[in-house]
């Protein structure tokens, strides 16, 4: 079977599993975990646009995620409808992404990372300290979930399907982006920024647009998150959240479409399982970081693929040497 056919078959199976998941899982708890995985996958895919394809590592994306969530919550609290709240959330997140991008793109590499980290901390500070606006540490409750086309998302299964729909649209948009000329030029700015400039590309503008695209989906993920939890607090904007989503991207493998999704599943499942047994989630998160960086620096998906090929070759090796005869 060719690689493309394998991938196609894999995609069909994955889609079939996702589409029928509530039917065979049955339990509300697991359906909710699946929703969580999908919404964090949207967030991780968004960050991957910058980290994987743009070569720009952001540690402030929790800020953008939180802006989406908080705007939705505040608009709903002010008595606005769901559509207005969601549109406002997207608009505010995009505006905030533009501010982030203008400031952070003064630098690349580590400078970019440090500036996004600082900007993310500012947003956390606002969420935490500006109690008149954000209700501080107590957070904001969102009492209702929307009902698009008359289907209420109040229970687990419809919410799962809504999240799945958003996830698929996000995934499709990423696939299109990666295959588009814009995606190619984004990878170009990652690998050879000087050559891209010499070729007449506006490197800054390409990165800026990629940041907006990433910010858009981060904001959408934030909206999903606030509807899922029906509550938002400053913890969402904290550095831990940025680190967790970065871990999803890195652990799954950057610059792949499947990587962030697998990473989101691993992190969300680990977090839920670990939290059920011990309270030391941060310790586990830190250890996972250290272990992955030390032993599988390219990420779990490419890393496992490498280990798989390696064991496969070792098993196949005796046969090959027998037929090839004198190969060293």
């Amino acid at each position: 079977m060719s690689a493309a056919a394998t991938r196609g078959a894999f995609l069909v199976v994955a889609l079939a599993i996702l589409a029928t998941l509530p039917a065979w899982v049955g339990n509300t708890y697991y359906i909710n975990i699946a929703s969580q995985i999908l919404l964090f996958a949207v967030f991780a895919l968004a960050l991957n646009v910058l980290v994987g394809y743009g070569g720009l590592v952001s540690l402030g994306h929790a800020g953008l995620f939180a802006v989406g969530g908080y705007t939705t919550a505040l608009m709903l609290q002010a008595g606005q409808g769901h559509l207005a709240a969601d549109l406002a959330a997207v608009a505010v997140t995009l505006a905030m992404s533009a501010v982030f991008a203008v400031l952070a793109l003064r630098a690349t590499g580590i400078g970019f990372l440090m500036i996004t980290l600082a900007l993310g901390q500012i947003l956390w500070g606002i969420a935490y300290r500006w109690a008149n606006l954000t209700n501080g540490d107590n957070g904001i409750n969102v009492t209702t979930r929307p009902a698009p086309f008359g289907i209420t998302l109040a229970t687990a299964t419809p919410f799962y399907y809504a999240t799945l729909a958003v996830f698929l649209v996000a995934l499709a948009s990423m696939a299109l982006l990666v295959r588009s000329p814009f995606g190619a030029s984004l990878c170009g700015t990652r690998d050879q920024p000087r050559r891209m400039t010499a070729l007449g590309y506006n490197v800054w503008l390409i990165r800026f647009l990629a940041f907006l695209f990433s910010g858009f989906w981060s904001g959408v993920a934030g909206i999903l998150f606030v509807y899922y939890n029906q509550f938002i607090s400053p913890q969402v904007a904290a550095l831990q959240t940025s680190a967790e989503v970065l871990l999803m991207v890195i652990s799954g493998g950057t610059a792949t479409l499947a990587g962030p999704v697998v990473g989101a599943a691993i992190v969300v499942i680990t977090k839920n399982v670990v939290s059920a047994y011990i309270v030391r989630w941060n310790l586990v998160l830190g250890l996972v970081f250290v272990v992955i960086i030390t032993f599988m620096p390219e990420g779990l998906v490419p890393g496992s693929a490498r280990l798989w090929r390696w064991t496969w070759r070792r098993r196949a090796a005796p046969v090959k040497t027998a037929t090839a005869g004198e190969r060293p």
Binding site: V57, L103, A107, L113, L117, R129, A238, L247, G286
Partner: protein, 286 residues
């Protein structure tokens, strides 16, 4: 009027503490280009070491120095056995130090619980000086003196000694420095250890003023970051000036605009990034 002077004294003391924190960060991030996201953890862990020793009736200064020494060893081990394997891979270094900072934070929470610890200052430095009808807490003034002494010592070390020249040579062109016989790797371990020790020392010195609590690491790291971006990476003078600017903004911001204190703290950094990306005294960009 009294309020303003009290605020100003607190601001200067805070600036001194921030300098102890960010001088090490400036060495590690500015000179060695290692994005050390566990610098706040060094500060917090050092402070916890200090308060534990103080709880066992150890002399304050002995505790501060011992804590710095312990952190120097920990820093050296981290640099030698983990970070060096990742030389030149900034992203991997970021993730490694971030992961370690989570581990440290959780371990601290486990060992020292969630309650804040606030030791009292050393006996000789308690009380306040009376001057012109105003009271100045002696300990806060002492922090400033310590910071200035450390600043001068670091400046002399980096700019005027043979060791400093070798470190600068190693940073500027490591391969050539190695060729002429400078043990660059060993020097880098030393600088990393020194930076960690300064942060831990600062943590103990700051404990009577700031107290020690979970989350202190996450609060101090961005502050070190702003100070270094503001002052320019690798510049001791920049770090000193940046520390006092942030010290003032921190105290005045919290007194005048408590809701937006955090935003005010970051504004000068944003201005510097837009207008002068190399920082006030920096040579290269961030």
């Amino acid at each position: 009027m009294t309020l303003w002077i009290t605020l100003a004294v607190n601001s200067i003391a805070m600036g001194g503490l921030l300098f102890l924190l960010s001088a090490g960060f400036s060495l590690i991030f500015g000179l060695m280009r290692i994005p050390n996201l566990m610098h706040g953890s060094f500060f917090m862990l050092g402070a916890y070491f200090g308060v534990s020793m103080l709880a066992h009736e150890v002399n304050f200064w002995v505790a501060a120095l011992a804590s710095g020494l312990a952190m120097a060893v920990i820093g050296a081990v981290i640099e030698r056995f983990l970070l060096r394997r990742l030389a030149g891979q900034e992203l991997a270094q970021v993730l490694l130090t971030l992961g370690l900072s989570f581990i440290v934070a959780d371990l601290c929470l486990m060992i020292w619980t969630g309650d804040p610890w606030q030791p009292s200052p050393p006996p000789d430095l308690r009380g306040a000086l009376r001057f012109g009808g105003l009271f100045f807490p002696i300990y806060r003034l002492a922090i400033v003196v310590i910071a200035v002494v450390v600043a001068i010592a670091l400046w002399l070390l980096v700019d005027w000694t043979r060791l400093g020249a070798m470190i600068r040579a190693g940073v500027d062109d490591a391969p050539i420095a190695r060729v002429v016989g400078i043990p660059v790797s060993r020097l880098f371990t030393l600088v990393f250890a020194l930076g960690a020790a300064l942060a831990a020392f600062g943590g103990v010195i700051g404990a009577p003023y700031l107290s020690v609590y979970p989350g202190l690491d996450g609060e101090m790291l961005p502050l070190a970051l702003i100070v270094v971006i503001l002052g320019g990476t690798g510049s001791m003078l920049g770090a000193l000036l940046g520390s006092f600017i942030i010290g003032f903004l921190y105290n005045f911001g919290q007194a005048m605009f408590p809701d937006l204190a955090y935003v005010i703290l970051f504004l000068p950094m944003l201005l510097v990034l837009v207008l002068r990306p190399q920082g006030l005294f920096g040579k290269g960009t961030v």
